[in-house]
């Protein structure tokens, strides 16, 4: 069985470097790729009743928006003769990536570190640090 890399994808612009890196790495080693986009969500956040009533609808919209980003990435990789899959999940990026890595017995997680704004930097930095602490597999952070 070939190796499997989990690739954390955020928005398409910043993801491209991470995706390119993951693809070239996988090509060399013959590994399969699994692209994951995590929609930040907490089961303990507070909502107004109106938001609750629309939650299911919003969730569907969020998922299709995210799929519109990761699906083409996976399709492109597949078209170039690789094995690539993708999924979209709600939750905390760090936890979800680790869970998926564990479930799929992945060999490493690849995420991007992009510094477009201080806030983004903080969020991604947060993700990198979280993964460094809890990841069950090695992590590669693409600058």
């Amino acid at each position: 069985m070939s190796d499997l890399y989990i690739v954390g994808v955020h928005n398409p612009e910043h993801a491209s470097r991470t995706v390119d890196f993951a693809v070239s790495l996988a090509k060399k080693s013959g590994a399969a790729l699994h692209f994951v986009q995590v929609i930040e969500w907490s089961p303990y956040s507070f909502h107004t009743p109106e938001e609750l009533a629309q939650r299911h609808k919003r969730r569907d919209e969020e998922i299709s928006r995210a799929l519109a980003i990761v699906q083409p990435i996976a399709d492109k990789a597949n078209a170039s003769g690789m094995t690539a899959t993708c999924e979209v999940h709600h939750g905390h990026a760090g936890e979800i990536l680790c869970e998926i890595a564990k479930d799929k017995k992945a060999d490493q997680i690849i995420i991007g570190r992009t510094g477009s704004s201080s806030l983004t930097q903080r969020l991604l930095g947060g993700l990198a640090i979280t993964l460094a602490q809890i990841s069950p597999v090695p992590i590669t952070i693409v600058p």
């Binding site: 303990y44 956040s45 909502h47 009743p49 009533a53 299911h56 969730r59 998922i63 709600h90």
Partner: protein, 500 residues
């Protein structure tokens, strides 16, 4: 439409200043609305003399229902308490449902609608009129009410409407009409659903709005002298903020409130606990005052029954068990089985009444702030009790009062809106009309003296229970069947904890 709305909004302050010039808008509004609401109040609170005191039949109606559900479901609120906690913690959440409404979120949202001024001001009224003994009856009513909430929230989820676009609508109007039509009583169901909706709109404008505006204004004007006698101004500010959220769709304000409110609730309970611990030596006396007051009160109009009525009334007003409102909020939850939401919902009266209301009344009793016939009642009594230990707590209480009021208004505007659209159909314009009326009532509520407001709030909220509980009685065998099915699935392992 929006332009017309803005014009109408712009006209409000003008009308206000006009009436102000002629001897006070507050008085003017009280004079107009008072005679309209008084007959409604006396009908809903039709009372019979029991042992020399007036006993409103509607209070008995709620308590009897709570007792019936408690017995019928085998004391589910005690047997199922652990399971409720486990569900809220998310032990049974399927990871594939991530992103849907969780039990915790449904509970938190329903609580932000019920934890409001009833817990601060309402308890003040109960202890003032019913003495310390009212606390005992309030706790008892809270514990019993958990079974009513259990029943109505299961039905809310089971009979909700799920539309093609993914949104959901649920609540008593849906289970009354759909559930009773399954029983072959479609006409009765439809009638009860409409009756409930009318009362729900009234309750949304009364207890969910005017009472909130009124009591938070009372607290604000007592610490900011500028607002004294300017209820209409405070009302306009609140109405503008509510309008921005519900008409303007500006979620950020609601978001901020939703984040601050739980913090406020924790701060409030924490402060109450500290006061109780500070007066540690006074606890035995307070507990004995509560028990003696419950069974042999002194200085309380109506004696035992007086204390009982006040306790029951305030508990019902605060936790809304049997009223049906929370069922609307709980209906949105993602669950594979409606019974889970019943378990989650039964925590609501527990947190609201057994924990938060009890804290308030313990603080009032322990600090000895209750003085019969002193005229210090409602939020002023609660404020006085907290101030006795923490000077300056009045400010914290004022902020808490305004925030609680605000989040309760947002929740009730939605409950009212759901009842409104049930009757008049969905549609942007129809919704806007209701939302505008809702904002106008904020101003009216802040301007009126407490008497007519609190009576009208009570009347409308309790009237919702008339239709709701008839439906609950008729549908409780259905709930029992659902419960049996759920327990079977739980026992067989079909529904099980998700290992993390």
């Amino acid at each position: 439409m929006l332009k017309r709305l803005m014009l109408a909004c712009a006209g409000l302050p003008f009308m206000a200043s006009l009436a102000h010039a002629e001897g006070g808008i507050d008085q003017a509004i009280s004079d107009i609305v008072g005679p309209i609401v008084n007959p409604i109040v006396s009908t809903v609170f039709y009372s019979v003399p029991v042992f020399g005191t007036q006993f409103p039949l509607i209070v008995g109606w709620l308590v009897i229902a709570a007792v019936v559900f408690t017995v019928y479901f085998g004391f589910i609120q005690f047997r199922g308490f652990g399971h409720s906690i486990s569900l809220v913690k998310g032990d049974y959440l399927d990871p594939n449902d991530a992103g849907e409404v969780t039990p915790f979120q449904a509970l938190a949202t329903a609580l932000s609608g019920t934890v409001g001024l009833g817990n601060i001001a309402g308890v003040g009224v109960a202890v003032y009129l019913g003495g310390p003994g009212a606390t005992f009856w309030m706790i008892l009513a809270g514990l019993l009410g958990m079974a009513s909430k259990f029943t109505e929230c299961i039905l809310g989820v089971h009979y909700r409407n799920e539309y093609e676009d993914g949104t959901v609508s649920g609540g008593p109007m849906y289970y009354l009409s759909k559930g009773l039509s399954e029983n072959g009583k479609a006409t009765l169901g439809k009638f009860l659903a409409i009756f409930f909706s009318i009362c729900c709109i009234g309750g949304a404008l009364g207890g969910g709005n005017m009472f909130q505006a009124n009591q938070s204004f009372a607290q604000i004007s007592s610490i900011i002298p500028f607002f004294e006698g300017k209820g209409w101004l405070f009302g306009l500010i609140m109405a503008a903020l509510v309008g921005v959220v519900i008409i303007g769709g500006i979620k950020s304000i609601a978001k901020v409130t939703e984040k601050i409110v739980p913090g406020m609730a924790i701060l409030y309970v924490g402060a109450a606990l500290i006061i109780i611990l500070m007066n540690f030596s006074a606890i035995p006396d307070a507990v004995s005052a509560i028990f003696t007051g419950a069974f042999a009160p002194t200085a309380v109009a109506g004696g035992v029954v007086g204390a009982l009525i006040q306790g029951f009334k305030r508990a019902a007003f605060s936790n809304e068990a049997g009223i049906g409102s929370a069922s609307i909020a709980h209906s949105a939850v993602q669950t594979k089985h409606p019974v889970t939401e019943g378990y989650v919902a039964l925590l609501e009266p527990f947190i609201d009444t057994v924990v938060i209301c009890t804290m308030t009344s313990l603080v009032i009793v322990i600090t000895g702030s209750w003085v019969p016939d002193s005229g210090v009642t409602g939020i002023a009594l609660t404020s006085k009790a907290f101030e006795a230990s923490f000077s300056g707590f009045g400010y914290v209480l004022a902020i808490a009062a305004v925030l609680f009021a605000f989040s309760t208004m947002i929740s009730w505007s939605y409950y009212g809106l759901k009842a409104w659209t049930y009757m008049f159909g969905e549609g942007k314009t129809k919704e806007l009309v209701f939302k505008f009326i809702f904002c106008v009532f904020v101003v009216i509520g802040a301007s009126m003296s407490l008497g007519p407001v609190i009576d009208f709030s009570d009347a409308m909220i309790f009237a919702m229970a008339i239709a709701n509980i008839i439906g609950l009685y008729m549908l409780m065998p259905k709930v029992k069947a659902l419960l049996a099915d759920y327990q079977e699935k739980l026992a067989s392992g079909e529904i099980k904890k998700i290992k993390k």
